[in-house]
């Protein structure tokens, strides 16, 4: 009988109900997850929005940081992030290339991989103290952009290494074998086939690093970021203000700051991070569209 063959049994009906309930539950969890994000963003927009103006972005703090803008901190953050990137990207990509393409599978490689994972778990204040010991004192860079950026670079190195290694390993082995069979060396294979196809993943990792570096406070507090310094840095050996530390300072360390000021700083900071993430997503979508196999 064709009709009764597909007739829903009691079992079918209850299975379907359960499936619907589970779906509803997971949807609820997901919504719960984004509620804090939305609240934070709305609060910042509402309370900090009025503070944002061209003047706020491009002028110096005045009146003991209770008025004026954030220009030195904004510039300082750009300096810190840029120098950190210049150090950590070449280092991280090189390390990932070695680990993914060259390293034999032995105890040393496994030890290095373990060390990288552990490095990612080290609290940022420990990195900060390491930075003071190594860069500020031992290498005698003093409290400077260089010392702070190196500390940031070391802290974010695992992010770059892991992201790069993963995108390298996503390139199918068959491509490498085809090149090796043609008589290409490992480096020729990497340069012509592996890297061009891993670049989107690497860029994503780098931008992720940028957004993390932008917000870090502890590692730069003792190594190069200044409490208040209304001048722009001229070289990597100068101290500088930074947005993240400036937010900490105006929110907790200075009396009589009008409420909109710290919210404004926070909004600029989070705006920078969101911009970076949006850029990352856009870039990845663009590069994914180019890559097909």
């Amino acid at each position: 009988m064709a009709d009764s063959m597909f007739k829903a049994t009691q079992q079918n009906v209850s299975d379907e109900h359960r499936d619907f309930l589970v779906q509803l539950l997971f949807f609820g969890m997901t919504v719960l997850l984004i509620i804090p994000v939305i609240i934070i963003l709305c609060m910042l927009m509402w309370k900090g929005g009025p503070a944002i103006s061209w003047e706020f972005l491009f002028s110096e703090p005045t009146n003991g940081m209770t008025a004026g803008g954030i220009f030195p901190a904004l510039v300082g953050t750009v300096w810190l992030v840029t120098v950190a990137l210049l150090v950590s990207v070449p280092l991280g990509v090189a390390a990932a290339l070695y680990l993914s393409e060259y390293a034999p599978d032995n105890w040393l490689t496994r030890f290095i991989n373990l060390a990288i994972i552990n490095l990612a778990g080290v609290p940022s204040i420990v990195h900060a103290l390491f930075g003071v010991g190594a860069f500020v004192l031992f290498f005698e860079f003093g409290t400077s952009i260089l010392a702070a950026s190196l500390t940031l670079a070391i802290m974010t190195l695992p992010v770059v290494i892991v992201a790069t290694r993963e995108s390298l390993q996503a390139v199918p082995l068959a491509f490498r074998e085809a090149c090796w069979n043609m008589g290409a060396t490992r480096w020729q294979t990497i340069r012509r086939v592996v890297l061009p196809n891993a670049v989107s993943g690497i860029l994503t990792g780098v931008i992720l690093e940028v957004s993390r570096t932008t917000g870090e406070t502890a590692p730069i507090m003792f190594t190069g970021a200044a409490f208040f310094l209304p001048f722009l840095p001229e070289s990597v050996f100068d101290q500088t203000m930074a947005l993240s530390l400036h937010l900490f300072v105006v929110a907790t360390q200075v009396p009589n700051v009008p409420e909109h000021l710290p919210y404004g700083v926070a909004l600029v900071l989070i705006g920078m991070v969101l911009l970076m993430n949006a850029l990352s997503i856009g870039l990845r979508m663009y590069l994914r569209g180019q890559k097909k196999w």
Binding site: D105, W180, N181, M182, G183, A184, Q188, N197, W293
Partner: protein, 277 residues
């Protein structure tokens, strides 16, 4: 003849041990394999294989899956280097040079074109796929590259289909086209030896026939090692055929002899007749 060496009795490979005999055959032997053993982490994959592959012949290798055919090819162009798990002993002489002790493996590999079971169009343009090997050799001149790309694609019976879209990604071509692209890429190496590993597994019968025609044309210029699990394909193409079974080289002979029942081992005729495998 040399190829009649009974690999079941490695201590007495009739004819092989005579060095005088070897010297007279070397001139026409492109590859000489001596006592080749391959194992993966202690598990044997190929045992005591000794055979010669003559210049400008199509040498077929047939046998069911897991017989060591692919491992054999990997040992020849030293691809075992990339697999720490793979141990190879014995000698493979290429024009009389022992490749097992060779330092410049890149020069060896560039003389040997390889075609895989599954077509591998590299994720770059059709043009770059074919121009890659010449570029690795240091050819930069655009006109020279153009000429090589057109010649190799024509050779591989693909030129007419792709000449208007040389900038398309190679990995976007259809399976049959990609396999011909792989052959064009192998030819762009200007190889002396072409090794094909079950090239027809993922392509349609029409493409298979076209590629077989290409191989027939190429046989006068280069030495071809054709690994195939299609017994009839070996019959159509190979001058001589070896039968591998479970890591042993059971039989080597003129393809005609093998298919007319003139075999030394019963398993060969059983396999060819389709009674197993």
């Amino acid at each position: 003849m040399v190829e009649q060496a009974a690999t079941q009795a490695p201590e007495a490979p009739s004819g092989l041990s005579s060095s005088a005999h070897r010297d007279t055959t070397r001139a026409s032997n492109k590859l000489e394999v001596r006592d080749l053993n391959i194992s993966y982490g202690g598990v044997s994959a190929l045992r005591d294989v000794s055979l010669d592959i003559r210049e400008h012949e199509i040498f077929g290798i047939i046998g069911p899956a897991n017989s060591g055919k692919t491992s054999f090819l990997k040992a020849i162009n030293r691809m075992d280097m990339f697999n720490k798990n793979m141990q190879v002993t014995g000698e493979v002489l290429y024009d009389g040079h022992n490749t097992r002790t060779l330092r410049n493996v890149y020069a060896l590999r560039s003389r040997i074109g390889v075609v895989f079971p599954l077509p591998v169009g590299l994720p770059m343009s059709v043009y770059d796929n074919v121009a890659m090997s010449p570029r690795l050799r240091g050819i930069k001149n655009k006109a020279d590259l153009d000429e090589i790309v057109e010649r190799c694609l024509t050779r591989a019976a693909l030129w007419d289909e792709v000449k208007d879209r040389l900038t398309t990604l190679g990995s976007l071509l259809s399976g049959g086209q990609q396999q011909r692209l792989t052959i064009a890429r192998a030819l762009s190496q200007e190889p002396e030896v072409l090794m094909l590993d079950e090239f027809s597994i993922a392509v349609d019968p029409v493409t298979t026939m076209r590629i077989e025609d290409i191989l027939k044309e190429l046989r006068n210029e280069i030495t071809i090692v054709l690994v195939t699990n299609l017994v009839q394909q070996a019959r159509r193409l190979a001058d001589r055929t070896a039968f591998f079974l479970m890591g042993d080289c059971v039989e080597i002979g003129e393809t005609e002899d093998l298919f007319s029942g003139n075999v030394t081992d019963q398993r060969t005729s059983d396999y060819i007749a389709g009674r197993f495998g």
